[in-house]
């Protein structure tokens, strides 16, 4: 069995290739960066270290070869002969690799091909499929081939080692290998990849991951940032943050259950499992990595505002999700370059304007008001070199340097 993985980043190598190779596939990796291509072709392997608490398992993952994405004929040939293609390049870059898949499909004479977008985005497969279609003739039978998005549970936090090192690089992640895919979107024969779960309703799985796990992760990162912590595993040990993260995830769960029915949120046990993953220091996950791109993460359908909007639609009032969204605005404001679109909009239009632009929130709505109120309250005392002491009450600054008694 052969597989092609497009994208040699943390998920492409640390999850997709690792699971495919474990499942008996010979994997060809396609990457844009010539340095990683040369590195992989030199070693024909990389390492994956899966860590949880004091347990750590490291192994070599062998690859058949690596190809540059500019080598279209070779990539097309590999895809034409592959049993499955995994894509992990970032949602915004799907269009930039679609021509490779189209070229492979045009050469393909074998059985249908299944393409899985490891992007943790519900609409990734539609975006990829539409982009591929634009590179194919009108009469091309694309429906023969399967496309699916994927909901990924593994966190792969970093790559250790330099590409010019004598030793293969190592990707560090947690042991979870569950990847939920849309069984209806794929074509027989279905790929046999360890950890793959065929879901009937991938959007529900995706929503639960986004509005519970990702909401909690983002809350840990943004509140951790405000309180001055460097790592997720440190921030989650702060009792105030821990309680807020739990409550943010509960708000997400209550929202899901208010719309989709009891049990759809995952229950309290699930929250304990998630917290233990956030506590996993071996992942070494900085709050700045988890919090990056706050403009996207504050999107109307994203982990904080999306979860809060769903909850409010179901009659569930939210308190912590708006607090986390306000902290995300602070995160954007604290960007030293001040150059991100959200930071620029925040400086120009204030929090209400930025939330209207990035989160599609009505500035007069209750949710927007709660976020802007929290943002202004944080702004009384927080600075990036002067952490917030408490989430709930602030001490006001006085000219003498003392807080009021």
């Amino acid at each position: 069995m052969r597989a092609v993985v497009i994208g040699a980043g943390r998920i492409g190598c640390g999850l997709a290739t690792e699971a495919l190779e474990r499942g008996g596939y010979e994997v060809t990796i396609v990457a844009r960066d010539p340095a990683i291509v040369a590195h992989l072709n030199l070693h024909l392997q990389f390492r994956v270290r899966l860590v949880e608490g004091s347990r750590s398992d490291e192994r070599a993952v062998e690859v058949r070869r690596a190809l540059r994405s500019t080598d279209i004929p070779a990539v097309a040939e590999a895809i034409a002969q592959a049993d499955v293609v995994a894509v992990s390049v970032g949602v915004e870059s799907l269009g930039a690799i679609a021509h490779l898949i189209a070229a492979g499909l045009k050469e393909r004479t074998a059985a249908p091909l299944n393409v899985i977008a490891y992007e943790n985005a519900a609409d990734a497969c539609e975006r990829l499929r539409d982009a591929v279609l634009r590179h194919l003739p009108d009469e091309f039978p694309l429906d023969r081939h399967g496309f699916s998005s994927a909901v990924i549970e593994r966190a792969v936090s970093r790559r250790v080692g330099a590409l010019n090192d004598a030793r293969p690089v190592c990707f560090v992640g947690d042991p979870s290998d569950a990847v939920h895919v849309d069984g209806r979107g794929l074509r027989a024969p279905l790929p046999g990849i360890p950890g793959m779960v065929f879901a009937d309703d991938l959007s529900a799985t995706f929503e639960r991951k986004l509005f519970v796990f990702s909401a909690g992760h983002a809350t840990t990162a943004y509140l951790g940032y405000l309180k001055g912590y460097r790592y997720i595993h440190a921030a989650i040990r702060d009792p105030e943050i821990r309680e807020a993260v739990l409550e943010a995830m509960r708000e997400g769960q209550r929202g899901l259950e208010s719309i989709h029915g009891e049990g759809t949120g995952g229950g309290e046990d699930r929250l304990g499992v998630i917290l233990r993953r956030f506590e996993n220091a071996a992942l070494n996950d900085p709050v700045t990595r988890v919090g990056r791109d706050p403009g996207r993460k504050l999107g109307a359908h994203e982990r904080l505002i999306g979860a809060a909007t769903l909850a409010e639609r179901g009659g569930v009032r939210t308190a912590v999700l708006p607090l986390a969204a306000a902290a995300a605005l602070c995160f954007a404001a604290g960007d030293p370059s001040g150059a991100s679109p959200l930071a620029v909009d925040l400086a120009r239009s204030g929090p209400g304007g930025a939330l209207r632009e990035f989160a599609a929130l009505d500035p007069d709505g209750g949710l927007c008001q709660r976020v802007t109120d929290a943002f202004r309250r944080f702004g009384l005392t927080w600075r990036d070199d002067s952490p917030l002491l408490r989430l709930t009450e602030e001490t006001a600054e006085t000219p003498s340097g003392e807080a009021p008694a």
Binding site: R230, A234, R383, D385, S386, E397, P399, S400, G401, A403
Partner: protein
């Protein structure tokens, strides 16, 4: 961790919490008490990725210096810790960096201070003292006769009447915290004091102190007098009492520093490109 055992009456949970938190995160931590150990200098080789110099004892500083010479990475760097321990050097480094410090004088003869007292009282303290011990406010030249010099050296600063409680400023990884405290603090609760939000001016002064020494973790004593702040002491590893979640924050910072060391980067981000700190230049 290079530590000094505290008397039971002064036991703080800070460092045990830091150590246990780092261990939970997978770090292997050895706690060493240089004052209680027999250290063979001929065999002294760095065995750890990072040494954290908590103790300010003479033996700990010297052992840290020996480890530094043998190539160990030490937090804070040994030479900075030694410079902070010596108020003469520390005050000069701070003053040279534009940090507001009281007028400061050093002499071997108490009589030399007499002329200064005509212009106002002086605070005389041991130049290697800690915890406010041996601090005297000298209002009158007659009091000079009673002063015992420390190692033949008298360290004197112009007295500025402080407003309100003592202000301790703590910096962990470049983040600034303020704690107000009564002096002298009689109980552990009084030592914990009360966190307060500092002004932009004090924050800027605090960060400038760190830049002067090239460190990101330290403590300052600041007095406010007639609305003007003066830095009167710096410690390279204070107790951080009163900083919310101090142990967790320290563990978070030390973990990040250790990670930088493992990644082959400078332990302290604030170090200059040539690896030297302004304090190291000053102590050459």
């Amino acid at each position: 961790m290079l530590m000094m055992r505290s008397p039971s009456s002064k036991t703080s949970p800070l460092m045990p919490e830091v150590v246990s938190t780092l261990e939970v995160w997978g770090a292997e931590v050895d706690v060493l008490y240089p004052d209680e150990m027999l250290t063979c200098l001929g065999n002294l080789i760095p065995e750890h990725d990072l040494y954290v110099l908590k103790s300010g004892s003479e033996i700990a500083l010297s052992v840290a210096g020996a480890l530094d010479a043998a190539g160990a990475t030490i937090l804070n760097p040994h030479r900075v810790a030694a410079a902070c321990r010596d108020k003469v050097i520390a005050t000069r480094v701070l003053a040279a960096a534009g940090v507001p410090v009281p007028e400061t004088y050093v002499t071997g003869h108490a009589g030399e201070l007499a002329g200064l007292i005509d212009e106002g009282p002086l605070v005389v303290k041991p130049y290697r003292g800690t915890n406010g011990q041996g601090v005297h406010v000298v209002w009158d030249a007659d009091q000079l006769d009673d002063l015992a010099s420390s190692g033949g050296l008298l360290f004197a600063q112009r007295y500025h009447k402080p407003e309100g409680r003592d202000r301790k400023i703590y910096v962990i990884g470049g983040q600034v915290f303020g704690v107000k405290r009564v002096w002298p603090a009689r109980s552990y609760e009084e030592k914990l004091g009360e966190p307060f939000t500092i002004t932009d001016e004090v924050r800027e002064i605090a960060l400038r102190c760190g830049e002067a020494f090239g460190i990101e973790m330290y403590g300052l004593d600041i007095i406010l007098s007639d609305g003007c702040p003066y830095v009167v002491d710096i410690s390279s590893f204070p107790g951080f009492k009163g900083v919310p979640q101090a142990a967790l924050r320290l563990a978070d910072y030390i973990y990040a520093v250790a990670q930088r060391v493992l990644d082959g980067e400078p332990a302290v981000e604030a170090l200059r490109a040539d690896g030297k700190t302004p304090a190291e230049e000053a102590t050459r």
